[in-house]
Every structure is written in C-alpha cells, then in structure tokens.
Symmetry: C2
C-alpha cells in the first residue's frame, strides 16, 4: 500500500542522500500566466532527475541480505543512472539492461556510476525478460521504474518537500509516464492538504493515461513518439493507475510546440535547463492558463538531462 | 568610504526587495576540478543579474527629495534594466541613456520596466555627457554603474550572503568590469573572514585591471572585444581600483574558448543558464585549477541574461 507514512519513511531514508531541491519562482512568469507559480527544480537533483528518490528508497527497503547481492533494472533514460548511482551509494552491484542504440553519453554515464551495462536489441529482444533472467541467475533484486510501492513512495518525497516549502498551494502539475511520480506526489500532497488538486501532464502524442483516465481502465497505445523522451511509456502502471484514478483531478495534454516553448522560457526567463519531459508542466500551465487563473500552482520540473546539441536541435525546429 | 558597515546597511535596505540567491553545488564539478565549488547563482536575481543590488541601494541612499525627482543612468547592459527596475520599485522616474543599436530585446526590457530610454549614437556621441546634461536639466540623480560607494556597497551584499551561506571558504572568484562587484565583495568577505582570498577574473581580450593591478596604476586599453559583453569597460574605476589593489589576491585571465566551455558545463552539468560574463569565474577555476586544488572556492555567477539564439551562436563557434 502507498500512504503518507510510507512516503515519510522514504523521506527519512533519503535525508542527507538526495538533494532537497529548491523551489524557484519568477515574477515575470507569474505575470504572464496570471498565477503564482512555484517550480520544484528536480533538474538540480543528483543524477539530474527525481528518479534517484525512488531508486534509492527501493534499494534501502531491501533486506541487508538481498541488498548485498545487488540489483538489476532496465531503462534507456534517467532511471538507469538513478539505479546505478543508488547502488553505488550502497556499495552494491548494479546491472542495467539498456538498448544498444541508446545515446553513447547515457551508456557512458551509467557505466560511470559503476554499473554493469547489458546491451540488448530493442527491435528483437525483450528487455524485461533479459533483466528477470539475470535477476534469477544471480539472485539480484529488480528495481522497476515505477510499478513498485517503494519506488512510488520515494518519488512522492518530491511533493512532500514542495508542500513543506510552499504554503497554501491550490494545485500541483506532475508529468506522467508510467505514473510513479504522480502516484507518490498525489498521495503525499492530498494526505497533507486534502483540498489540493493534482493534475497529470502528458504529451498529446502519448496520451495513454488521459485515455485510460477517461475510460476508467488501462488503455495501451503504441510507444509514443514525442520529444519528451522521459514520457514514452504506452500504458499506465498496474499499481500506479488506481492511485491516479483515485487522487488526480484531471490529465492535461500538451503539444510538442508548447513543450519546446516552455524549454525556451525556462532558459531565457527562469535561467534553468529543463529536459523536454520536465518542461511539460510549464507547457501545460501555459496551454491551460484559464483553469489556473489566480491560483498558487506548483510545477514539478522533473529533470534537466538534455545536452546542448539536443537542446539546440529542439529549439531550432520549425513549429 | 566603503566598509562592512556600509554593506550591512545596504543589505538591510535590500532585505525583502532583492532575492537572497541560492548557492548551487555539483559533485561532478567538484570531482573534475579537485576543489569544493560553491556557486552564488545571481542569474536568479531580479532582472537576471546582481546589478539590482547596487542600483537599488544607490537610489535608497538618496534623500527623499532627490529620489522624488528621479534618476538617470547610462548602460547598454544589465545596469540599464537594474536602474529601471529599482526606480519602478520606488515609484520614481528613470531615464536610461542607451546606444540606439543596442539589441531590441534590451531596449524593450528597459522600457518594460517603465524607464524612459534616450537613444544615442555610440560612434559620434558621448553617453555620459548626454546623461549629465539630462540630470542637470531635470534635477535627476545619476546612478553610475560602478564608481559610486553605494553601488559598490550594494554589490558587496552578494558576497556578504555567500560567506553567510557557506562556512570556511578559502577563496571567492569575482568577474571584473568596472570593478564595483569585486570591490564590494572583497570588502565584505575580507572583513568577515580576513584569511579569505579574493580573485578577480577578466577575459584575456580585456585585461585592463590585470595590467593595472600589475603596474600599480590605472591603465586604459581599447574597449575590449570579448564575448563577455558585461565586461567591456576599458579602465578600472577611480573609486574601485584602490579597493582592488588593497584587497584582491590576483587577477586571473580567461580565454574566450574557456568562457564558452564554462557556459556549456553550466548548462549540461549544473543545469543553469549563465551569461558569458557570469561564466568567467568557472572558466577561471578550470583554467587555473592547480591554484585551487583541495580548496573551498566560491564563484560569483554574476548573471544569466543570454538569449537562446545568442547561446546557440556562442556554443556553436569553432574554437
């Protein structure tokens, strides 16, 4: 079960390990949007994204004997580096299953944290099957990217901090991929402040959670082809979706152009580097401005892992 | 006279008006540089740079009657917007003398703060003479960019905060243009922690303070043509230079390529947008690494006013 107690336990484990990231404000942005905006800057988090919260908490929750054998995970993105870093902090083995055509920088960064990278062919092989067979063979614990209560609890500490850092928030906007971040954040924030409204944000090009939310059941779509490379899960999680249904006010969709525009605004006005997935919450606030007029709105800026060249490619696109 | 008492008085005036900007750290950077690095993120400051500290303090220090008549300043850069914003906060008139070929965004931003912009031709006209004649005609107070004790005291509050925020710093690196920022910062930091070493940073292409420092007298050079557009003063200030001579350990020079590389590192590793002038301190630490090995080093990231297009132009240059 996921509840506030579990998230507070995660917060205690993470204390002194992960950054209590700052909340950034911009009076220019407030004026433009007609709302008071509070941005939780997880781009400053260790390994560049919120993912370390869940990964570390999941490893911390293992028994000493399990942990000592090590962990395995699959990811082509921020979860890979988060598990690698968390395992290193515990001094245990980490095996990360990554597509062999993943960006060289990501493979290198994951290896840089001391993880063993097992490469697979994403067109012919099943990464989860590979990871589970390695887990069985070597007795490793699997650290899933979202469908796991300790992972969700860890991610929820981001919102726990935010509601402690900013009084009287009316709403929080959270990016959705598998749903681990929003499930944890909604659980923490609604427990502390029941009137707060939690909104999920998805790209228009990958609206599986929106469709599922409206239908009341998990709907699968083809792998989304969005620039928000952290939000390319095609179906809500089994454990996360019931939490989203129960606690989330609505799911907002954002266009690719609005995501790029939000990255540009973060750069020029807020002076922060935010990756496409992390910029979706500002994009949603801009695209759905009327709904939040006059409100105090928290935005989770989930990560900042975008290279200079990729940033240039994105902001140079024609709309 | 410039002393700690005057800087503390400035801090009291600025309290609740300007941001107490955060100090950002990066374990990756610490590892690369072999030092503990503490970055004072003035890119988050109001109007995007430290300049509001001095401008606001100078206007606050006027008598009520002087202030009511309004202020005049000349600048093509961050000081223009800072004086415009500070005057608006006091509800008084501001006239800013700006080159007519200044970037349209800067002219617009200054007007956006409610200032009257007087344009001049930088090849045929003398901006200071224009400003002083407007001052005389309308009874306005001049707010200089650096050669003024209240301006220097205001800028010094950046270092006052930094030494309060970070214990036991061994050194602080500060960009130098006219010298207002470093004069204030050196005065504050050395008064509180006499063993601290203050280093100035200049572009190799604009080393007037380095040359003056070594010669023991103010030397004028042609207007520097560096990408660090905030550091294009060709001679140290009359009031700032004696403070620099008395309190600064050395002046470090940085190459244009090192400035660009530092901007890139700030983007990819620290997730901060820093303008070329603001990136010079990280560039200096990288270029003069051995000198700071094992030390606790503060860097003033003086501002973040660089547009996306200009950033792309800079990082896309061939070295």
């Amino acid at each position: 079960m996921l509840d506030l107690a579990r998230i507070r336990q995660a917060a205690a484990r993470l204390d002194g390990i992960v950054h209590r990231t700052p909340v950034v404000t911009s009076s220019w942005l407030d004026q433009q949007l007609g709302a008071r905006v509070f941005m939780k800057a997880e781009c400053f988090q260790r390994a560049g994204a919120f993912k370390i919260r869940g990964a570390y908490n999941a490893i911390a929750a293992l028994s000493p004997a399990e942990r000592a054998r090590g962990v395995v995970a699959w990811s082509s993105g921020n979860h890979a580096q988060a598990v690698a870093l968390a395992a290193r902090l515990f001094g245990v083995r980490a095996v990360i299953v990554m597509p062999k055509d993943a960006p060289a920088t990501k493979l290198a960064a994951t290896r840089g944290y001391g993880a063993e990278v097992v490469e697979y062919d994403r067109y012919t092989e099943d990464r989860e099957a590979i990871a589970r067979s390695i887990a069985a063979r070597d007795g490793l614990a699997v650290v899933p990217a979202y469908d796991h209560y300790e992972v969700m609890a860890g991610q929820g500490t981001a919102a726990l901090e935010l509601v402690e850092q900013v009084a009287d928030l009316d709403a929080i906007l959270v990016p959705i991929s598998g749903g681990g971040l929003i499930a944890g954040c909604a659980t923490a924030a609604k427990a502390i402040r029941p009137t707060i409204e939690i909104y999920g944000v998805e790209p228009e090009l990958g609206s599986d959670t929106k469709q599922s939310f409206d239908a009341g059941r998990r709907i699968e779509i083809p792998i989304p082809r969005t620039i928000a490379d952290g939000l390319t899960v095609g179906i809500p999680g089994e454990l996360t979706f019931p939490v989203v249904r129960a606690l989330v006010a609505d799911i907002l969709l954002v266009s690719e152009a609005a995501i790029v525009e939000a990255m540009r605004t973060m750069f020029e006005r807020v002076k922060l580097v935010v990756e496409p997935s992390g910029a979706t919450t500002l994009a949603a606030l801009s695209q759905h401005k009327a709904r939040f007029a006059g409100k105090r709105v928290g935005l989770i800026l989930s990560g900042g892992n975008v290279g200079v060249e990729r940033f240039i490619e994105l902001v140079s696109r024609k709309a």
